[in-house]
């Protein structure tokens, strides 16, 4: 077990996130599935500028399936919440503005030009239309 953890940086990161979540140290991550939290921390997935989750590089089929599932659930939420207020796309975009602002240092997000960026200590690059 220890051997596997040390030989795999992704697993180490995942374990760290898991430990933090278990100890209540990461408030925002509490509701996240451990696999999702680990993929975020490892930079395999990132916040797209359209309000959905994106994959970076070529992650495993499990990660891609997880992203698809999360995005389906996001779309259902956007559809429900946007009703009577705006288009689904607009609601998702407004959510993306918040989600990108809330990314933690080290996590990935999509810049307005479509490129993937790693969140640093400063403010992320967001669309000019974000409030």
């Amino acid at each position: 077990m220890t051997k596997i953890l040390f030989s795999n940086p992704v697993a180490v990161l995942g374990a760290v996130v898991l430990t933090m979540a278990a100890s209540g140290g990461a408030m925002a991550q509490e509701g996240r599935d451990p696999a999702y939290a680990a993929a975020r921390a490892a930079g395999q997935v990132g916040e797209q500028k359209d309000g959905y989750l994106g994959v970076i590089g070529s992650p495993s089929a499990e990660v891609r399936a997880m992203v698809r599932d999360i995005n389906n659930r996001r779309r259902a939420i956007f559809t429900e919440k946007a009703a009577g207020k705006s288009t689904i796309e607009e609601y998702a975009f407004a959510t993306a503005c918040r989600l990108i602002a809330q990314t933690q240092p080290g996590e990935k997000y999509q810049a307005p030009d479509g490129s993937w960026k790693t969140r640093g200590a400063g403010a992320p690059e967001r669309d000019a239309r974000c409030p």
Binding site: K81, E90, Y91, R98, R129, P131
Partner: protein, 95 residues
Amino acid sequence: MKALELTGNVPAATSPAMMSQAQHDPQHEGFRFGGRAVCAAMLALGFGSALGGCVNVSAPDKPIVIELNINIRQEVIYRLSQDAENTIKQNEGVF
């Protein structure tokens, strides 16, 4: 003569995209019908080349449509911002 007509036709919004955008704006509707009237007048007078000018001036209107879109969306996004924040908090596992 031709230049004068081109200037007069600038606010005309006759493309379908523009017409749907302008539905909430009575001012735009006024311009649209005004533009049509000018086009019809040109036709009636038999200015074939002037009619070509009429079609050409609809092209510069396109960027204006896009700008309107951005303004509307920016307002909508600003309005939705707090709502989106609540949604994120209520669905922590998905975001």
